[in-house]
Symmetry: C2
Subunit: 450 residues, 2 copies
């Protein structure tokens, strides 16, 4: 009997691996050790629970623990925390119900995820100050909003969580301020897209402060105000800190498992770490960037699901690459969508050896004569010499899923001229003759030809 496949962490990467491994090799024991109680949940849906769009927190659970145990025959143990790995003995040390024991493994998957970064702000432990990373936190925020009925909320950080929580809290009737340290929100989307979203947030009544550093929070038991570096204190009945995430790598590090340049766990194309029979996937692990070919840390759901699933195959004697990441992301901000993929930041492009050239255009999502057309702002980036497509960012009221065309183009190494010649779908209710992506490519070809 092969020793069991042991998985540390029961969310996207872990449960995808468990399910796939049981499908490929039903006879092998698959043990998932999850320190919390929630498994296989859609973290990306949490802001919509706070907003009220999603009624029950349980609705965000894709597959319940019972289904994993009963229908998929996965030995899922919630409330089980792995505290150490012994790669020589091929065991993990587990703490559960006040006990400690060693669990042998044949293959081990680290799917320990990431945690919200908590900057050393004064007063970060005050009541009413939250990060949003776990289901318990989503639950706590919703409870707090319902119980306290805050008049004002401050969001620290203008990333995905900040933008989505601004929408959620405005919907709940709260006056929302966002404080962003950088010159623009949504940094990975580039300045052109960020500006459009910033204008829209302000139109929606969000009080947006760029280049504004928060120093801490003040109050009695509960938070009452936010202390800014330059502008003094502003009142806040609720604070959401959304300044990014850090991979949970301590367990791996202590076991001698190598981290990569991004600080997440280094893996090869099959998700293997430098230690035999130990894999890593999801928000704790690196993936290869489809444009630069370099290790990257993109803690998003699809990457995690895909890598977990691939590793479930690989440990079942069907070696399957985990796939590259294009850093694709899409976010809703009130009535707008914003999407991005690849390398947009010129500095990052130059570090990867490219000479980036970009254009930003506005093009309608349908012909002028067809009702409902709105402008899509497309930023497209290519390398000057090779003319290869490097990245793109879109923002508009509809049509931002068109980013997938650019994802496919940059993953396959298309040039801008080749992108320009794609036979994309046209009919008046769906698109102008020249899809906005094609229009951006035409303009960028023109710029590269100069």
């Amino acid at each position: 009997m092969t020793a069991p496949f042991v998985i540390v962490g029961g969310d996207a990467a872990g449960m995808s691996a468990a399910s796939k491994a049981k499908r490929e090799g039903p006879d092998r024991d698959v043990i998932v050790l999850e320190k919390g109680e929630w498994v296989s949940y859609a973290a990306c849906g949490m802001p919509y629970y706070v907003k009220g769009t999603v009624e029950d927190l349980e609705d965000l659970v894709a597959v319940t623990p019972e289904e994993f145990r009963q229908e998929r025959d996965v030995d899922l143990r919630t409330g089980h925390e792995v505290v150490a790995i012994d790669p020589q003995a091929k065991t993990v040390t587990v703490e559960a119900n006040g006990e400690r024991f060693d669990q042998p493994y044949g293959d081990l998957l680290l799917a320990t995820g990431a945690r919200a970064i908590e900057p050393p702000f004064d007063g970060i432990d005050l009541e009413g100050v939250f990060t949003l990373r776990s289901m318990d936190e989503a639950d706590a925020i919703e409870d707090y909003v319902t119980a306290v009925d805050p008049e004002t909320a401050t969001i620290v950080g203008g990333g995905y969580v900040g933008v989505e929580m601004a929408e959620a809290l405005v919907e709940r009737g709260v006056d929302v301020s966002i404080f962003e340290m950088l010159p623009h929100i949504l940094q990975p989307f580039g300045e052109e897209t960020a500006r459009v979203v910033e204008d829209h947030l302000r139109e929606q009544g969000v009080d947006l402060h760029l280049e504004t550093a928060v120093e801490g929070f003040a109050g009695g038991d509960a938070v009452e105000s936010v202390e800014l570096a330059d502008e003094g204190a502003v009142p806040a009945d609720l604070v959401i800190v959304g300044v990014g995430v850090a991979p949970n790598v301590e367990l791996a590090e202590e076991a001698g498992i190598e981290l990569g340049p991004t600080g997440a766990i280094a893996t090869d194309e099959y998700g293997r770490t430098n230690v035999a029979d130990v894999y890593a996937a999801g928000d704790c692990a690196e993936a290869t960037n489809a444009v630069t070919g370099e290790p990257d840390h993109v803690p998003l759901a699809l990457t995690a699901n895909r890598a977990g699933r691939a590793i479930g195959s690989t440990i079942s004697d069907d070696p399957t690459p985990t796939g590259e990441t294009a850093g694709t992301a899409i976010v809703k901000a009130f009535d707008l969508g914003a999407a991005r993929t690849g390398v947009i930041d010129p500095e990052r492009a130059r570090e990867a050896g490219f000479d980036p050239v970009h254009v930003t255009i506005e093009a309608p999502t349908r012909p002028h004569y067809y009702p409902g057309a709105t402008d899509l702002t497309v930023t497209l980036v290519a390398d000057r010499e090779s003319e290869r497509v490097l990245g793109a960012s879109l923002v508009g009221h509809e049509g931002t899923k068109r980013i997938d065309t650019v994802v496919t183009a940059l993953t396959t190494g298309l040039t801008v001229s080749e992108l320009q010649n794609l036979d994309l779908a046209y009919a008046p209710p769906f698109s102008p003759v020249w899809d906005p992506i094609l229009t951006a490519a035409k303009v960028l070809v023109g710029k590269l030809d100069l």
Copy 2:
């Protein structure tokens, strides 16, 4: 002084070529000879004029004749019909205002378009029997509907025109029947997509008859009934015949310009015919199929615009390929969208040397917990041995523009496994974690692995 660039036909291909040629070489004379009065119009928008979505027929004109003449310096001559080409003398013979003259050319572009096929039905010349290809026909249909206020309409043929006109006429309060000779409507979309659209048309009150041959029309001055091969006569106050188009190639043929296997004008990758300095583009010309590499005839707007534009560059000493066609199409049918690309028909795939394998799946456009999710039906086709993506068809209430991901994949020669690993955009308001295209790819990979 270089002899002028002469263009025969003033719609998408012709006017794109004219505009591009003047931008690239403002000093060269560009003469467009158009036998009708309308130029540069969106034929795809005509059903929406009949429907009432588009108020004025003029709204469908992208650039007016005056703009071409004044702002773009194009010598546009409407009411000018080219009746012969002399490739030796490098002249075309033109008839206009009852006169006939020869016009010399340096380069010549044939952009003569296609015409609606008119089967030899009895009574096809009756009042109230229309095809829909030209702006004048759109105008006439709208006038007729307004004047006659028909109770019943029959549409012969369940292609794009048939489906779009069914929607338009139902909106105008007419009882609509469609008669389709083949077992399914929308033949290029494949049976799985067609079935979904057929069910929807019937839900919308369209009386749909498959495998039903029309023999002719009867009436006094105006049409009153449609004669069916097997079922006798059915009443019809209005008839739309939409059984396909045929390329206008007579002028080319008489001048010794070669046609290709599809019956349209054969061209190379730059749009050149077999005769020196004579190009062809748009609905009268072939294009190379991106999947099979063979000549194909796909008379659609983007192909025409793109080829015309490329030829405008090529004749200006900037040789530019016209681009391949993937046979991409998208059509609205009441509340549904249907899209297709590549090679879907198994017989056609086999003729091109492939061993096609396909799956059809239903997947939601958003996660189950997010409001507004609807099912998208995805048919994905790949070659068994190479596992290359060959084609796809989508149908659903939203999200059919996702076909563009498959367009990009099959143009670049991706395998299904590579398609499955694309980092497509995910957030709950826009997509489930696994986009429906990825889900289809996963299922097809599983089928190919068996």
